[in-house]
């Protein structure tokens, strides 16, 4: 079976899958997924503010960038999409390196009291 094109020619029966008639729903779900990812980054940035204000602010700015990138869903070429997803990956790797350093050198529970 060939993949549907997302376009229903005039005069045909309505498709069972509502997305077949309206592929914009897939785009909307994808934009919401980007929004959730941006919120996750924002929550992480807010948590990092407590340990390292500069790093936390940087992650908060990145969450705004991620949110903005989500608005571009479906408008970019494959190369652009790949660059956007690579940005997420690189950011997560960088954040995990920071987390690793903080977990050994961070202030610990004593200074948080």
């Amino acid at each position: 079976m060939s993949p549907p094109t997302g376009k229903t020619p005039a005069g045909e029966e309505p498709a069972d899958d509502i997305e077949y008639a309206d592929p914009g729903l897939a785009r909307e779900r994808t934009e919401l997924a980007w929004t959730r990812t941006a919120i996750a980054f924002a929550a992480l940035g807010a948590a990092l503010l407590k340990f390292r204000p500069v790093v936390g602010l940087l992650v908060l700015v990145l969450s705004a960038v991620v949110w903005r990138l989500g608005r571009l869903s479906g408008t970019a070429s494959t190369a652009d999409l790949r660059a956007r997803l690579l940005l997420i990956t690189v950011t997560t790797v960088a954040v995990s390196v920071v987390a690793l350093v903080l977990s050994f050198l961070g202030p610990g529970i004593v200074s948080l009291r």
């Binding site: 992480l44 571009l72 494959t78 652009d80 999409l81 997803l85 940005l87 987390a99």
Partner: protein, 160 residues
């Protein structure tokens, strides 16, 4: 355009394109006149543009794994920094927290590679490669959970 694709070097796809998850067999499909193997020589931009919904679904899957990896990193950091130390085992928190952070890092990278592999398969009309992430995540979390249980028991009975 906020993030122009031209920013990345042309050779990028040919470098990372060979780093695919294991379990994906070498493709025998050749769609080029020269008999070129698209699975080993292609960038993500050749082939035909798939149905937009499939591209969206692949993108959402990647984003979901990214949030999972972020949660793992944050959880590991919180355990290492916010959890009270195990009585008698001062290094106990790091034994749990560090693997969680490393797991989050690995999930992030693997999910990107799998997104690339899936997108390539979509563009060439090939079967989607099987994701290895559920297996990796299940095994790693099981091991980390067992370590946490052992640490809790050790600190309860007192380290010999």
């Amino acid at each position: 355009m906020l993030w122009p694709g031209a920013f990345w070097p042309v050779t990028y796809g040919s470098v990372v394109g060979t780093m695919r998850p294991r379990g994906r067999g070498k493709s025998t499909v050749t769609d080029q006149p020269g008999g070129r193997d698209p699975a080993t020589t292609s960038t993500d931009d050749d082939g035909t543009e798939p149905d937009a919904r499939y591209t969206f679904a692949n993108e959402r899957t990647f984003l979901a794994w990214s949030r999972t990896s972020l949660a793992l990193v944050v959880g590991g950091l919180a355990i290492a920094q916010l959890l009270p130390p195990f009585p008698g085992i001062p290094w106990g928190r790091h034994v749990i927290g560090t693997p969680l952070i490393l797991l989050g890092c690995a999930v992030s990278v693997i999910s990107y590679l799998e997104w690339k592999a899936s997108q390539r398969a979509l563009r060439h009309g090939q079967p989607l490669p099987r994701s290895r992430l559920p297996q990796i995540l299940a095994i790693a979390i099981t091991v980390i959970g067992l370590i946490a249980a052992a640490l809790a028991l050790l600190s309860a009975v007192g380290v010999p």
